[in-house]
């Protein structure tokens, strides 16, 4: 019991400090952290799949769907409540994943990766052809409100940031708990030997289906959060390069802990942002070099810095 508290403390403590310090931080920091959390949700879902030995190159499907669900709610129904938008994003993605899961959960390895990517590209293609939703230009998401109260720009940033921090704590607690359940702890077993898992009496297909839905809900949540933070959504969110970036960040982060995705995406966003500023012509090289360094020196991702140290200690 004590161990669980410790792991989560690492996440909750900095987030609580950030929430308290939020009003005094520069606006761009709030924005960067909020965006990183949005991406962190998606990466957390990918981490769940990766622990099961599955790589999805189509997480952009649920990320985009979550964003469009939240955006459509604002555009069509005029709803802009921050909680409603987040929940609708996650719910829409989970529903689609539940349906697709019956097919996708039967595949592994490259087939799983390609199939997930194919579905995301279908959504991309559909959105680009839909002039009513702005085609490739997308459309604006209304400024999120809190219980019907419309705040000024600076307070809105803090409000979304605080809600994102709170959501992170809830989600991390949930995922952490899930990984302790029988179904959740099957992940490494499925990765190592599916057949034995079946012999034990567990349904691998069912376990993967559940993980697929959870990962999708997280991606949808991340998409909705990103959409309302940025204030604009477009089909690019479903494009395979977006999904590829999530896989990139997952590898960068490592699968050691529920904290890893959030730390990984914060570091990724920070590197990228400064690379844009200091080497506008070669920012991709900076990102590529950092990826190379991580792969060469930390093959298990950034989180392995901490686990490796603990092993030695």
């Amino acid at each position: 019991m004590k161990r669980i508290d410790r792991t989560l403390l690492v996440l909750i403590l900095p987030l609580a400090i950030l929430m308290a310090a939020g009003p005094f931080l520069p606006q761009w920091v709030l924005f960067l952290v909020t965006l990183s959390i949005g991406k962190g949700f998606v990466v957390l879902g990918l981490m769940l799949l990766l622990r099961t030995g599955l790589v999805s190159f189509g997480q952009g499907l649920f990320y985009c769907l979550g964003a469009y669900a939240a955006g459509a709610l604002g555009k069509v129904l005029g709803i802009s409540d921050v909680f409603l938008l987040l929940v609708s994003g996650a719910a829409a993605a989970a529903l689609l994943a539940y349906i697709l899961g019956f097919l996708v959960a039967q595949y592994r390895d490259i087939f799983f990766a390609m199939l997930s990517m194919a579905f995301s590209m279908i959504l991309y293609g559909l959105l680009v052809k839909t002039a009513a939703l702005g085609s490739s230009d997308g459309f604006n998401v209304p400024v999120p409100t809190l219980f019907g109260a419309k705040l000024v720009e600076a307070s809105t940033r803090y409000m979304v940031f605080a809600v994102a921090c709170a959501a992170t704590i809830l989600v991390a607690l949930g995922v952490h708990w899930y990984q302790k359940t029988t179904l959740g702890s099957l992940s490494p077993a499925i990765k190592d030997n599916e057949l034995r898992v079946e012999y034990m009496g567990a349904s691998v297909r069912h376990a993967i289906h559940v993980k697929f839905v959870i990962a999708a809900a997280l991606a949808g949540l991340g998409g909705a959060l990103t959409g309302m933070t940025v204030g604009h959504i477009d089909p690019e969110m479903a494009y395979w390069t977006t999904s590829g970036e999530f896989v990139f960040v997952t590898i960068l982060s490592g699968t050691g802990s529920v904290v890893a995705p959030f730390l990984g995406s914060l570091i990724f966003e920070t590197i990228r942002s400064y690379a844009y500023e200091y080497s506008p012509n070669t920012w991709q090289m900076v990102l590529g070099a950092s990826m190379l360094l991580v792969i060469v020196f930390l093959p298990l991702g950034m989180w392995s810095i901490f686990t490796a140290r603990r092993k030695r200690a």
Binding site: P14, L32, D137
Partner: protein, 435 residues
């Protein structure tokens, strides 16, 4: 392995996170120098749009900012920098999509403390940035981007666009081809399958319905962006019997299309209209078949008026970058000169004192200013959206060199909707000037 109890990892993590934020903090805490005016320039520096648009635009900004800072170099704009204050330029890459662009825009404004932002080629980026600029109350000037939606769907105080929107390209093209072929029966299109290509074609089709009611659109080919291979589409166009083929292709797609379609005789069979073909004319040169109709989204480059300002720009740009400036360069110059004109007008109204942002905005609205592409008037979107005229011409290779003949220039009133009317409605109404 998780059982081992050692706090060092956690402490390291917390320390790392703290350092990360602290670093960000100090970098942001740069006290903004009051003297120079810091302009964030956002343009594609990587990816497919960089070569044809992004880099020529960036170069236009660079050469103009340097000449303005020297002072007395730019005809008609004698004062140094902006009203005497030197211009400091920060370049940002526009690649990466709207999420990244909104992040970088916020960083420009809140971390780098720029005084204003000039930029954005992609329509999606401008649509995403406009509400953010309004929220952050930062003067932001879009120099390019096609979509009319920005000021037709919303209205902004802090956002300006100093280039005409894309309606003009399609209307101008329809005017040109119907004057060229008054009895046209069949036309077709090949456009990229995303908002730009779709909007360009639907505007062209709508304009053709008014200008040549008897003509029929026989086929509209929508190709994947940057696919580079148009074999099947060219076959369809060849067998369609279209007299005119409309295309809003840009960059590598335009080059591939010309190089693949010309040997198959498409340019002989039909008149191909490349609405933004001007920006590839120096790259392809005499490989562009005779009789191709080229446009440049305005009166720019080869279509630009023969003024002292334009001659200076052509000469200075060509000397520096070895190629003549194309429309992205011209559009960037329109933006920088627009800001300069507005700033100095506000300064004069403020008795020579440094004007506030609100004063600059007030003098920018409905402003007319001189540029290498002629007079630009902020005539739409409550004074925030520029209108210009547009030219089209036909190519002819003379002694191995590409020339443009039969140039026709349409004045701004003829190719732009009046204030308060949506572009789409204006075309469908038969180009009515009154509501």
């Amino acid at each position: 392995m998780m059982q081992k109890r050692s706090g060092s990892g956690r402490i390291l993590f917390v320390a790392f996170a703290t350092v990360l934020i602290a670093v960000g903090f100090t970098l942001s805490a740069h006290a903004a120098d009051q003297k120079p005016i810091k302009i964030g320039i956002v343009s594609f520096l990587s990816g497919p749009p960089a070569g044809p648009f992004g880099v020529p635009a960036r170069n236009g900004a660079e050469i103009l900012a340097e000449a303005l800072n020297e002072g007395g170099k730019v005809p008609g704009y004698g004062t140094k920098g902006l009203g005497g204050a030197p211009i400091e330029v920060v370049y940002i890459d526009e690649a990466g999509g709207t999420t990244k662009q909104v992040t970088e825009y916020r960083n420009l404004v809140q971390r780098q403390d720029v005084d204003l932002v000039i930029g954005y080629i992609s329509s999606g980026d401008t649509l995403a940035i406009a509400p953010v600029a309004e929220g952050l109350k930062k003067l932001t000037v879009f120099f390019d981007s096609g979509t009319p939606r920005i000021f037709e769907d919303a209205s902004y105080k802090y956002v300006f666009r100093t280039g005409s929107h894309s309606t003009m390209d399609s209307v101008g093209a329809a005017l040109y081809v119907t004057e060229m072929k008054p009895n046209i029966k069949k036309y077709a299109g090949i456009n990229q399958n995303y908002a730009w290509g779709q909007d360009s074609w639907s505007d062209f089709e709508a304009a053709m319905k008014i200008l040549a009611p008897k003509a029929k659109a026989v086929t509209s080919q929508m190709t994947k962006l940057m696919s580079g291979q148009f074999g099947a589409e060219i076959s369809v166009l060849l067998s369609s019997g279209a007299e005119v083929i409309h295309s809003s292709f840009w960059g590598g797609d335009t080059e591939s299309f010309v190089l693949q379609a010309a040997p198959r005789g498409l340019f002989k069979k039909s008149t191909v209209v490349l609405t933004c073909g001007e920006h590839i004319m120096y790259r392809l040169g005499n490989q562009i078949p005779d009789g191709t109709v080229l446009g440049g989204k305005g009166t720019v480059g080869i279509f630009a008026p023969n003024t002292e300002l334009n001659r200076w720009f052509q000469k200075a740009y060509t000397a520096r970058y070895d190629v003549p400036p194309t429309y992205p360069s011209y559009r960037m110059v329109q933006a920088v000169l627009g800001v300069k004109a507005a700033y100095e007008k506000a300064m004069a109204a403020n008795k020579g004192m440094t004007p506030t942002q609100d004063q600059v905005i007030a003098s920018f609205e409905h402003l007319s200013f001189d540029t290498p592409s002629g007079i630009v008037e902020m005539g739409l979107g409550k004074g925030h959206q520029a209108v210009t005229g547009i030219s089209y011409g036909t190519t002819k290779v003379v002694k191995g060199k590409l020339t443009i003949t039969n140039i026709k220039t349409y004045p701004k009133e003829k190719v732009n909707p009046p204030e308060g009317v949506l572009s789409k409605d204006w075309i469908e109404s038969g180009f009515k000037r009154t509501k």
